[in-house]
């Protein structure tokens, strides 16, 4: 019997102006990263509601990463500063509830950092894969 290799499911929220463009650049430069990463485009990282993150975990995501412009470079001048506070507090809370802290991450990726995008995703997928399936924040009804 062949054992199916465990592949984590990663949801990446990317801001339209920097990180989504950075992801495009990774594509332009043919830089590989795992296909388990699925990108959702948002106008700014500050559009990402904690509810979206929890929803993703509920539906079976194993890791959620939020990418935005570097602090100071936000297209909307200050959106990512709010993201930074919100996510620092939210991730700390998830950790407080015993959720593995490696399952969540915020990374600043500029439109020029295609290579950083690919490296970040490779690294994130590897870390999440080593944790195995997300069992602490899942909804059994939503299991595949």
């Amino acid at each position: 019997m062949q054992i199916k290799e465990y592949k984590p499911l990663i949801v990446a929220f990317c801001c339209n102006w920097c990180s989504y463009a950075g992801a495009d650049l990774a594509g332009n430069n043919r830089l590989n990263y795992p296909a388990e990463v699925k990108i959702i485009r948002v106008p700014c990282s500050c559009r990402v509601n904690p509810m979206f993150i929890l929803r993703a975990f509920q539906r079976g995501a194993d890791g959620v990463i939020i990418c935005g412009c570097h602090p100071g470079d936000c297209h909307y001048t200050s959106g990512n500063y709010y993201t930074r506070r919100r996510m620092a507090l939210l991730f700390s809370m998830l950790d407080f509830l015993g959720i593995e802290r490696e399952r969540t991450r915020v990374e600043w990726v500029s439109a020029a950092e295609g290579a950083k995008f690919a490296t970040t995703m490779n690294d994130f997928v590897e870390k999440v894969a080593s944790l195995g399936e997300n069992k602490r924040l899942e909804d059994l009804r939503c299991k595949r």
Binding site: A21, A26, K38, R41, V42, P43, C46, H75
Partner: protein
């Protein structure tokens, strides 16, 4: 229920090589709402677009999903296609299966599987799309130029030339800026005043241009096309409309020992002054920190000699409120302070000067009437050492210098050395350089002439220290090409100080919500393609406030900024981005969280009456979004605890639908 058409693009082999496009089209056929699904070699081609239009007509589609390259590439194209087919352009969603799929994954099963999931997410989103229409706002046909240097002057002249009124706000008593302080200009060596002052006169005489000199911008609100600006006109204690600029008051003023900022403190001026002969407006200004009459009421001489009756010791600062459609920032630059560069002995010796001071020292209208002498004793110098890159290209000394190349120093230093040798062939001139950077029309030829024809001694290397000894300045430097350490007895040392943005730029940027880089230079909307626009709509950049620039570059950028302003003011109405926030008044608590995070001040509150289920009425405070100001970042949607605030085009339920589709 939507009727969705799915169009999967091959992009030649760009997508088709790693994604089984037919399988994707087939798989998406079964998604809820999808009534038609197909694939094609080049969806963005005319034939591909026609295919979409036909399908819309044939299948009565209400939404479109294109699985293709990045939406950053062709979203606009397909929105236009949808509009041409009679659909609302915002009923289109793109699944990015090229940059974020086929190009990053290698094998077909993986690529295809991911492409299908991305397609499903796009379908899930389109199912919840609603037609969006952009809002419109009027345009005030008047421009504001902040800064009256050559950048601001050129921008204002060009805008006025197109027939639009322009106001210039300048903090100094006169326009002219740094260029007015220069002697000659490279590479043609025409005198700065000769080419600048006619432009200043043009500004003064143009009836479309108003000059607010000795003024500053106090407050900016509003948005592109509709800025409300408060300008503080500082009291100059002279009635501008009455003063004829005759100068009698300047001559008679008994308080003559005020350091003259126009000559960088190298000589003195009276308490009432006109910065220089060609000043515009040519109006006297009283320095309140120096004038005895203003300080303790003892004098009043200028009022007695003024035949025009222009002196007014009771004048107060005045606030002028005006509406503008566009704002141009032209705040310019300053040389950095040399106080921290102890090794060059700038604060120890009067004979160590900056290049800008050197300009004044050689200028016919300067403190020495153009005679080049040592500032300490007025003697003729025999050896002059020029040091380049002082404070520029500093990596570790952020508190001291700047990391960037100041760009203009190589050329003006060559100019200085050449002019010295031209006028005083007996003076030895040394230029210490790290690199000589001359990328401009006729620039390198100019530098070579300095070396070859004028005998300026260029030494590759840096000066290590300057120590005043008696009347001389001992200069210790390295000559890297000859592998020697040089010791030169100099009479004058000229430091090519790095330049930095004017200090007024930072608070101004905050007022304008325009972004800046870490060096306080204004950021352009795109470094290559939109170099004269700020990311903040309606704010434009002219001159050195955006980065170091020489005069030819400044003037061309000033013209470019003007043409962008003209393009904006020529419109009667602006159409906005329809993907903006909106608040559901039935759910809004009026708690102000959204207002506090909005970077654009787009949210205001009104008290509104609501009918309650028990037929009573209730007045509640609710948020309202100004569609012309909102840029659609979505910060408010997360700040809002009740979920009353949502973002059109990226609505919460749409994003959740995408999450669900991906995690299914």
């Amino acid at each position: 229920m939507q009727r969705i058409g799915v169009f999967v693009c091959w992009c030649g082999s760009n997508i088709a090589a790693t994604v089984d496009v037919q399988a994707v089209a087939q798989a998406l056929k079964n998604e809820p709402g999808v009534v038609f699904s197909t694939d094609y070699q080049y969806m963005c081609s005319q034939a591909g677009q026609d295919m979409i239009k036909e399908a819309v007509a044939e299948h009565n589609l209400t939404g479109i999903v294109v699985c293709s390259c990045s939406p950053r590439m062709h979203e606009a194209t397909f929105r236009k296609t949808a509009a041409a087919a009679g659909l609302n352009p915002y009923m289109v969603e793109i699944a990015n299966i090229r940059e974020q799929c086929s190009w990053v994954h290698k094998d077909i099963p993986t690529g295809t599987e991911k492409a299908i999931i991305l397609g499903k997410a796009a379908v899930a989103k389109v199912n919840l799309n609603t037609p969006l229409t952009p809002g419109e706002s009027p345009v005030t046909k008047r421009a504001l130029v902040i800064g009256g240097g050559i950048a601001g002057i050129q921008t204002a002249l060009d805008i006025a030339d197109a027939g639009f009124p322009v106001d210039i706000v300048e903090t100094k008593p006169t326009i002219g800026g740094k260029m007015a302080q220069l002697d000659k200009t490279f590479p043609t060596l025409d005198c700065a005043a000769c080419i600048l002052t006619p432009k200043m006169v043009d500004v003064a005489q143009n009836d479309k241009i108003r000059i607010f000199s000795y003024s500053e911008v106090e407050e900016v609100s509003g948005f592109v096309g509709n800025f409300d600006v408060k300008i503080k006109k500082r009291a100059r204690y002279v009635k501008e409309d009455l003063c004829t600029g005759c100068g009698a008051c300047v001559e008679k003023c008994p308080m003559k020992k005020v350091p003259n900022e126009f000559n960088l403190g190298m000589d003195n001026r009276p308490a009432i002054y006109i910065p220089f002969a060609q000043a515009v407006p040519k109006v006297a200004t009283i320095d309140p920190n120096a004038c005895n009459m203003l300080k303790n009421g003892k004098c009043g001489l200028c009022a007695r000699v003024c035949t025009a009756g222009a002196i007014d010791y009771t004048q107060k600062d005045e606030i002028i409120e005006e509406k503008y459609g566009a704002i141009v920032v032209a705040t310019g630059f300053n040389p950095i302070s040399m106080d921290k560069f102890d090794e060059f002995a700038y604060s120890q010796s009067k004979d160590v000067i900056t290049s800008l001071e050197f300009e004044r020292l050689t200028n016919a209208a300067g403190p020495t009437a153009g005679k080049l002498v040592r500032p300490s004793d007025g003697e003729h110098p025999h050896t002059i050492v020029f040091v380049q890159c002082v404070g520029s290209r500093c990596e570790n000394c952020a508190e001291k210098g700047k990391e960037y190349c100041s760009k203009i120093c190589c050329m003006y230093t060559a100019k200085h050395a050449m002019l010295v040798r031209d006028k005083y062939p007996d003076i030895e001139t040394y230029v210490f350089y790290i690199d000589v950077r001359t990328p401009g029309k006729n620039f390198d030829e100019f530098y070579r002439r300095a070396v070859e024809e004028y005998g300026v001694k260029y030494v590759k290397g840096m000066v290590g220290k300057v120590s005043p000894e008696g009347k001389k300045l001992k200069v210790q430097a390295s000559d890297l090409l000859n592998n020697k350490q040089l010791n030169i007895d100099a009479d004058l040392v000229v430091l090519a100080a790095a330049i930095e943005p004017d200090k007024s730029a930072r608070p101004l940027a905050t007022m304008l919500t325009a972004s800046m880089d870490t060096n306080d230079f204004f950021t352009e909307a795109h470094p290559k393609l939109r170099p004269v626009e700020s990311p903040t709509a309606g704010v434009f950049l002219s001159g050195a406030c955006q980065g170091p620039k020489d005069i030819p570059e400044t003037v061309s950028q000033a013209g470019a900024a003007a043409s962008k302003v003209i393009g904006l003011l020529a419109k009667d109405k602006l159409t906005g981005n329809p993907c903006i926030a909106s608040s559901d008044e039935n759910m809004c608590n009026g708690c102000s969280s959204c207002e506090r995070v909005c970077p654009y001040g787009a949210i205001t509150y009104v008290d509104k009456e609501f009918r309650m289920p028990d037929r009573t009425t209730k007045v509640r405070r609710v948020a309202q979004v100004n569609p012309a100001v909102c840029q659609g970042c979505g910060a408010c949607t997360v700040a809002c605890p009740s979920g009353a605030m949502d973002l059109r085009g990226f609505a919460s339920n749409q994003i959740i639908a995408e999450v669900d589709a991906i995690c299914k």
